[in-house]
């Protein structure tokens, strides 16, 4: 396993994607065929079921070390990763076991059906025969997610660099149906098990943020205006009865949205469409936070399918019955699109992106301001004559987002992050003033620089009330400007309001705590849609 362990060491340390790719290419150039297939399996989330429960591993680790549970948990909250915590706490190895990745994976597979006592013997023997880093990887192989900063896209780019094969084709190959044992590494890369012609995506056409006055865009009649949505930009490719969903990041995400695949099956035509994957319930767009619950899951439960149904807002049509129509004008493509998705034939889970009617540019100001009320993040302006460009090109497509709302709030709790952020307090809870104290209004964990996070961590370490556990109550002293996309009354929150998408816009070092907003100030931001 040393070889694999070295690979992990070198890719987890760097945040330079090219260095990760180089390390993977080195590995692919030297590792055995089977080990390489395992690496692909592990990095694409195709993991076999977990053979040993985490609770057992925790228990065994405490047994071996003799440490009380509170000390184990305290250590865990400092490391932020269970596999690593155990690897760090165990005593030095007594011997050294060297097995290939393939051997480990096969043994772990067999372990699944064994009794706990036998599992324990196996795991304990491995622990005492592996170095710290190898032990960590062994624990990771047993279960948990194998997230070490290598996305499918990075893996695919490494395979592309190693083999010279097109990256999107490789994406299809590794996502496609294949089993260990029935295919060789080279066959997998060559894509012998897939038909890439059916899945091949187009590069997305991307918009710039609007940087001029609306009046300077020309005549309003030359422009198609739609709402901008904050979901996952996606491309649905339907060819020869096969359906593929590509994300903006050129990952195949087909299996994550089974209802969309089903919805596409009703069409007779072949097509490639561009749109937005959104959480959509009772014809209303839900927050991105809701959509997030659906992402990167190995299996999607029935419950989740009902709780967070998915919809696809269709923006554009790039290919129709085998013909690439990207060079045709937007208006032409839109006509075709309307015919395909006309109301009568509308498939479930798909919504044709609405065209906003307006006469003068000034009309759009109001429309944009109100977009927030139904969770749209602004407007898209598209030249009716524009082709579907490859990538980002200035002039034809503009995005015009709503300005976020802001309040000034004080930090009252801090919590450590996980993974890269496990040593720092990165997740915060903010409060505003009430008549007799403070009330929580938002949690936010993004928007600060690493340097600011380090500074806050020092403050928390110095001013925290609790000594144990992951959450710290801090003196209400640090004031931040919190930006958010929308606000509504809410019975679920003590404050009576719910903010949409709160994040830190800046640290208000200039502002004393007694000048933060009151809950009444915050409530005034709620615009009644009626």
């Amino acid at each position: 396993m040393k070889h694999f362990s070295d690979l992990i060491s070198s890719i987890e340390i760097t945040n330079k994607t090219n260095a990760k790719i180089d390390a993977l290419v080195d590995y692919f150039s030297t590792a055995s065929d089977k080990d390489k297939l395992w690496v692909i399996t592990l990095f694409t989330g195709k993991r076999p079921p977990r053979p040993v429960k985490t609770a057992l591993m925790r228990q065994w680790c405490m047994e071996i070390t003799g440490y009380p549970e509170w000390l184990f948990l305290e250590s865990y909250s400092n490391v932020g990763d269970l596999a690593e915590t155990i690897a760090l706490m165990l005593p030095d190895p007594t011997h050294h076991i060297e097995k290939s990745l393939d051997e480990w994976m096969k043994e772990l597979k067999k372990l699944t059906s064994k009794a706990d006592e036998e599992k324990k013997q196996y795991v304990l023997n491995a622990w005492s025969g592996l170095q710290m880093q190898e032990r960590f990887i062994f624990n990771k192989l047993i279960g948990g997610s194998f997230r070490i900063g290598v996305s499918k896209k990075t893996l695919v780019n490494a395979l592309a660099k190693y083999s010279g094969i097109d990256a999107n084709q490789l994406m299809h190959s590794i996502i496609g149906n294949w089993d260990m044992g029935s295919i060789s590494f080279d066959e997998l890369l060559q894509g012998e098990h897939i038909n890439y012609d059916n899945s091949k995506p187009y590069p997305f056409c991307l918009a710039y943020a609007l940087e001029k006055e609306l009046q300077d865009l020309g005549h309003p009649k030359d422009w198609q205006v739609e709402y901008k949505w904050d979901g996952i930009r996606g491309q649905i490719v339907k060819r020869n009865d096969e359906i593929f969903i590509w994300s903006r990041g050129e990952e195949l995400v087909t299996s994550q949205f089974p209802e969309l695949v089903e919805a596409m099956e009703v069409f007779d035509d072949d097509f490639v469409i561009d749109g937005e994957i959104l959480a959509l319930k009772d014809n209303a767009v839900l927050l991105f936070n809701d959509l997030q619950k659906r992402l990167n899951r190995k299996t999607i439960s029935k419950k989740l399918l009902e709780e967070v149904p998915i919809g696809f807002y269709v923006y554009d049509l790039m290919e129709w019955n085998g013909e690439d129509i990207r060079e045709k004008p937007m208006s032409f493509r839109r006509d075709l699109l309307e015919r395909l998705f006309s109301l009568e034939k509308r498939a479930p889970h798909t919504v044709l992106s609405e065209i906003i009617e307006f006469d003068e540019w000034n009309d759009l100001n109001d429309i944009r301001e109100k977009a927030r009320e139904f969770n749209s993040e602004g407007l898209m302006l598209k030249q009716k004559n524009s082709p579907y460009h490859t990538g980002r090109k200035k002039g034809d497509w503009w995005k015009w987002k709503v300005e976020p709302l802001t309040i000034d709030a004080v930090m009252i709790y801090a919590q450590k992050g996980s993974g890269r952020r496990s040593s720092k307090y990165t997740d915060y809870t903010f409060a505003v003033k009430t008549d007799d104290g403070l009330v929580t209004v938002a949690k936010a964990y993004s928007g600060l620089t690493d340097k600011e996070i380090s500074e806050i961590t020092r403050f928390v370490n110095k001013n925290a009330i609790e000594k144990f556990g992951p959450v710290r109550t801090v003196k209400p002293e640090l004031v931040f400007e919190i930006a958010f996309e929308g606000i509504a009354f809410s019975n679920r929150h003590k404050s009576g309001v719910a903010l949409r998408f709160p994040r830190i816009s800046r640290w208000r070092k200039d502002k004393p705590v007694d000048e933060i907003d009151t809950i009444e100030d915050v409530k005034k931001l709620i615009t009644d849609p009626s």
Binding site: T14, Y67, L71, E74, V79, T85, F136, G419, S423, K467
Partner: protein, 341 residues
């Protein structure tokens, strides 16, 4: 017997009328070692171990009133017998032993139990009360042996050379930098930043021989560094100077690098858990070796470590001090600024 008390200014020796590593100005300060959170500016008089004298003068000022004692030599202050004993933390670092009417208190300052072949190794001292640091007081911190970590660092340098890269190690200038020099001795030419170079000179003035190194000139020629080894203080992470080094691969040397999250947070090319502090087992063995009746735990994981000591039957209390885990960030950004601007 109450020999010391913990005050707002620092740890105070009651009959001796002096302070140990005070953080606010006092008349008489007994100093464990030269790091900025222990040896602070503004004391009327300093007493330190012989090898620390030049370092303190270099860092605090040439005109301070300072006196020094070799290890294991007693000096009486107001009837309290004071002596320094090796702490193994950095060159000149000492545990401070206080004895008054047969009652002994030992304050560790910072310490490391492992021999780094550079500083005089830590010596356990029996005492009634032991005041210990707890920087790495969690069972997740257990260091590799010196030989193992050295092998890892050598392998990394070798890999860098194979890719035509210059190996840059980041470590604070008093202690870590010399430690890295020792670990890298003979591997290749070692270039050090001026902040480190100046400290090396101060250390060598005490008659201590350090591995050979070359001053990294302010206007260095890029070609000179190609495939070589450079040691810089932490304040220079992300600096223009670092960017100027051709094909630099950067590694941080610090105990915090034991945790993957920390290695990734720093976003460098490598992290080596090279620490000048005792690891978990080191702290435990040090505490046990003193046979102390009471253990006071200062800076670091004081809550956790003292709770655990109580659970294993060692009476222990946590103490709030101004010593901190930030020595790597704090002291160096201060010294570097004055030295490079």
């Amino acid at each position: 017997m109450k020999l010391v008390k913990f005050t707002k200014k620092g740890i105070y020796c009651i009959p001796g009328k002096f302070y140990l590593d005070p953080w606010l100005p006092v008349d008489y300060a007994v100093i464990s070692h030269g790091h900025a959170d222990h040896a602070r500016w503004g004391m009327k008089h300093y007493l330190c171990q012989t090898d620390s004298k030049a370092i303190l003068k270099h860092r605090i000022g040439p005109d301070i009133s300072i006196e020094s004692l070799p290890y294991n030599v007693q000096k009486s202050i107001n009837g309290v017998s004071v002596s320094f004993h090796p702490a193994g933390h950095v060159i000149g670092s000492a545990q401070i032993r206080l004895e008054y009417k047969g009652f002994v208190v030992v304050f560790t300052g910072d310490y490391k139990v492992k021999d780094d072949h550079l500083t005089i190794p830590f010596e356990p001292i029996k005492c009634h009360e032991f005041i210990t640091e707890s920087t790495f007081g969690l069972p997740i911190y257990n260091w590799l042996s010196e030989a193992e970590i050295q092998q890892q660092m050598h392998d990394w340098v070798k890999l860098n050379k194979a890719h035509n890269r210059t190996s840059v190690f980041i470590g604070y200038s008093l202690g870590k930098a010399q430690r890295i020099m020792k670990l890298m001795e003979g591997v290749d030419q070692l270039f050090v930043h001026s902040a480190i170079h100046n400290l090396n000179n101060a250390i060598e003035r005490s008659g201590i021989q350090l591995p050979e190194s070359t001053l990294l000139e302010y206007d260095f020629k890029k070609e000179v560094l190609q495939n070589k080894i450079v040691i810089l203080p932490p304040a220079l992470l992300g600096s223009r100077l670092l960017k100027k080094i051709p094909n630099a691969a950067t590694a941080i040397c610090s105990g915090w690098m034991q945790i993957r999250g920390n290695r990734r947070w720093k976003a460098v090319d490598a992290g080596f858990a090279v620490s000048d502090h005792a690891d978990w087992n080191g702290l435990l063995s040090a505490v046990k070796a003193t046979e102390a009746e009471k253990v006071y735990v200062t800076h670091g994981s004081q809550a956790t470590f003292s709770k655990y000591l109580n659970e294993i039957g060692i009476e222990s209390y946590e103490v709030k001090t101004e010593y901190g885990i930030e020595e790597e960030e704090k002291e160096d950004s201060k010294t570097i600024k004055t030295e490079t601007e």
